[in-house]
């Protein structure tokens, strides 16, 4: 491959990716938050043994009002790091974050607090994210006093009662007087959601909000977030390892592996016709009650493969070591995110094998064409 074609390819990629982002954007409300080319490196070790772990590499996310974007991946894939970057808790090594069109500078306490009133988080574990020595009222009243300018004749108490009712903690007065240990997991998570809403944010970052809850409670909490998204025009980032819930709950799905986005597109399309081998693995790993005589019944198992490495020294595709379609090229050169449909993109050299339908439907401009 010569240098000229490389440059042409990069140009082509930028153009197609831009098209992907544009077409998904058309159907949503106004853009609330945009992250472009986010990278986060962590140094490991000291001196000679020092290496760099790129926990997040070149992640771009657009969060639109009234839309849910799901970020799907396994533990250690960097999804929570993305949430921390967006929440201003970590500073990106490279890349930009824009909120309502203005670049975000979070330096110092005051700026951080101002930022927090626009961007709020709901954490995974409702058992540790609430302070056990304070009542529900305290948890809701504090953000109201910190972030809201209360008008004449509106008391903080009114707002707090309203919040509790919004998340269906009724009768409100009874719940407000309770301590976290008196609540069930689902109720605690609803307190956490109410606390996030107290600041009247435009962006809600939900980091595995239901994974610690019982299956029967999950729907209720996800349904509540959906409802509040419509009522408050929220832009929601839903971080999860459960790709099935992304199908039902999200508009767009981003699949993350070892710090990189490997596939993105409308949630229904990504889950029903996954293009990237990793997405295919995720989908096939979900429990399937209809698959009688499945892998589990027959007891055959795939060999346990090594997990992907996010070390900056790793060459080629990060999913390569686990990928059933791996080729020589995948071991040397990292695949870029290329468009596979008008609103979908995937990062894989073998898309002609892994998703032949998608590639042929595109006609002409196959994945290979761009690289010649």
């Amino acid at each position: 491959m010569n240098r000229i074609s490389k440059g042409a390819r990069a140009h082509e990629e930028a153009r197609t990716l831009h098209a992907v982002v544009e077409s998904t954007a058309a159907r949503r409300g106004p853009l609330a938050m945009r992250a472009g080319g986010l990278c986060k490196d962590f140094a490991i070790g000291r001196g000679r043994g020092r290496t760099v772990l790129s926990a997040v590499r070149d992640v771009s996310i657009d969060l639109h009002r009234r839309a849910v974007v799901a970020l799907v991946g396994e533990s250690g894939s960097g999804k929570s790091t993305v949430a921390k970057l967006l929440a201003g808790q970590e500073q990106p090594t490279r890349g930009s974050i824009e909120l309502e069109g203005a670049p975000v500078e979070v330096s110092g306490r005051r700026a951080f607090r101002a930022y927090k009133s626009h961007v709020q988080m709901v954490f995974q574990d409702p058992f540790s994210s609430l302070n056990p020595v304070h009542t529900v009222r305290y948890h809701l009243e504090r953000p109201v006093r910190l972030h809201r300018a209360l008008g004449e004749g509106v008391s903080a108490e009114d707002v707090v009662v309203g919040l509790a009712e919004q998340v269906r903690l009724t009768p409100a007065q009874q719940f407000l007087a309770k301590y976290p240990h008196e609540l069930s997991g689902g109720q605690r998570q609803r307190v956490a959601i109410a606390r996030a809403l107290a600041a009247e944010p435009s962006v809600l970052l939900a980091d595995e909000p239901v994974s610690m809850l019982d299956v029967s409670i999950r729907l209720e909490v996800l349904g509540l977030i959906s409802e509040l998204r419509d009522r408050y025009d929220l832009a929601v980032l839903y971080i999860t390892h459960d790709i099935a819930s992304a199908r039902y709950f999200a508009d767009e799905a981003l699949v993350m592996y070892a710090g990189e986005i490997v596939e993105r597109g409308p949630a229904e399309a990504v889950t029903q016709q996954p293009a990237h081998p990793y997405t295919q693995l995720l989908v096939s790993s979900a429990p399937d009650p209809d698959a009688l005589g499945s892998v589990l019944r027959s007891g055959t198992r795939e060999a346990t493969r090594a997990s992907g490495s996010a070390l900056s020294t790793t060459r080629g595709c990060r999913f390569g070591p686990r990928c059933p379609f791996v080729q020589d090229r995948c071991r040397v050169e990292a695949p870029p995110l290329v468009a596979v449909a008008s609103d979908r993109a995937a990062a894989c050299w073998r898309l002609d094998t892994t998703a032949p339908d998608l590639v042929s439907a595109r006609g002409g401009g196959g994945v290979e064409d761009m690289t010649e």
Partner: protein
């Protein structure tokens, strides 16, 4: 002729004694486990699943007390002799535990001792239950890791050096260390990613087929059990509400609670279903309502429901002869009058 169950729990009741009265965590539960069978025990947190399993092994401490019922164990090594687990003295129990009935505890993250190497923890189990020479014991420990596909050089690792999936595999290896007849698995994969979860479940099934133990698999995720278990028992508020083959639970759930559970998880395959979930939250076990405890959350509930006796009855017209449900009113596949808690058509 039906095979005799290896573990038979009958009419077991367990309560937690408290100043404010007893919390009746398990109420007259009967469940049997046949050799080589996988029985799934499903239910929400606080429904008494773990209490039932630990109670059957007599692992509970006061304030938990067993208030009634019996637990019978019949293992191959006992040559057909039936053992009443509840009547055994502590030294007799020690012979039974782990050698005959082993447990994979919830959250492998915390169940391993962080300051001991994996080898020493496994050796401890082997040496406590088998009389082997030092060399043989070491060889056995190494072969246990082979069993769960962990490289032998991990023997010298500490738990924090292992990934979550590996730690869970070590826990499984530990449970299988002395070749038990019954393995109780308490939410063994809840904290794991889907991909790792699937690998571990596949491994459990393979080991079960190779070694022939029976599994009591406890989880709140019914979708997992549909694929994994031979039979499924659904528990609500300390009582069993439905027991049936996995196939029958999937295609003709009889109890409204089971229907609600089935309608709670999003499916990846097939058409999008309208998900309803189960409204409300589980009842307070200290003051259970009369009749069926599911009444406040049930879409089918009538006044009759508060007067029924909670016993499992054969489901009329069920294809599976062992299909029993505690609800005498609702037939499989029925629609609730107000639409909540129903199961929509599952693609056949």
């Amino acid at each position: 002729m039906p095979v005799e169950p290896v573990l038979e729990i009958s009419e077991l009741s367990i309560a937690y004694r408290g100043a404010a009265g007893d919390v009746r965590a398990v109420e007259r539960v009967s469940l049997s486990l046949r050799p080589g069978e996988v029985v799934g025990l499903a239910g929400e947190s606080g429904s008494g699943k773990s209490t039932l399993a630990y109670g059957a092994c007599r692992l509970l401490r006061p304030p938990a007390v067993i208030t009634g019922g019996s637990v019978t164990y019949r293992g191959r090594r006992l040559a057909g002799r039936a053992v009443d687990v509840l009547e055994r003295t502590p030294p007799e129990l020690r012979e039974l535990r782990w050698r005959e009935i082993a447990i994979v505890f919830q959250s492998a993250m915390n169940a391993l001792n962080p300051v001991l190497r994996v080898r020493d923890q496994l050796l401890d189990v082997v040496e406590a239950h088998l009389s082997l020479t030092k060399l043989d014991a070491r060889e056995r420990v190494a072969s246990l890791l082979d069993l769960v596909a962990i490289p032998r050089d991990r023997l010298r690792s500490y738990p924090h050096e292992l990934s979550g999936g590996m730690r869970q595999r070590v826990m499984i290896a530990m449970a299988l260390a002395v070749d038990p007849e019954v393995v109780i698995m308490d939410e063994p994969t809840t904290a794991l990613d889907v991909v790792v979860q699937r690998e571990i479940l596949g491994q459990i099934v393979e080991l079960k087929q190779r070694l022939g133990f029976a599994v009591l698999f406890i989880t709140h995720d019914l979708s997992l059990l549909l694929e994994l278990a031979d039979r499924i028992a659904v528990m609500y508020a300390g009582q069993l509400v439905e027991v049936a083959s996995a196939h029958a639970v999937h295609h003709g759930p009889a109890h409204p609670y089971t229907q609600g559970l089935l309608n709670s998880f999003p499916s990846l395959r097939g058409a999008r279903r309208e998900l309803a979930g189960i409204p409300g939250s589980p009842p307070d076990l200290r003051s259970l309502p009369a009749g069926c405890p599911f009444v406040p959350r049930c879409g089918f509930a009538t006044d009759e429901c508060t007067k029924i006796d909670m016993v499992l009855r054969a489901v009329p017209g069920a294809r599976d002869p062992g299909h029993v449900s505690a609800c005498p009113f609702v037939a499989p596949g029925a629609q609730a009058p107000d639409g909540k808690g129903t199961v929509s058509e599952v693609a056949s």
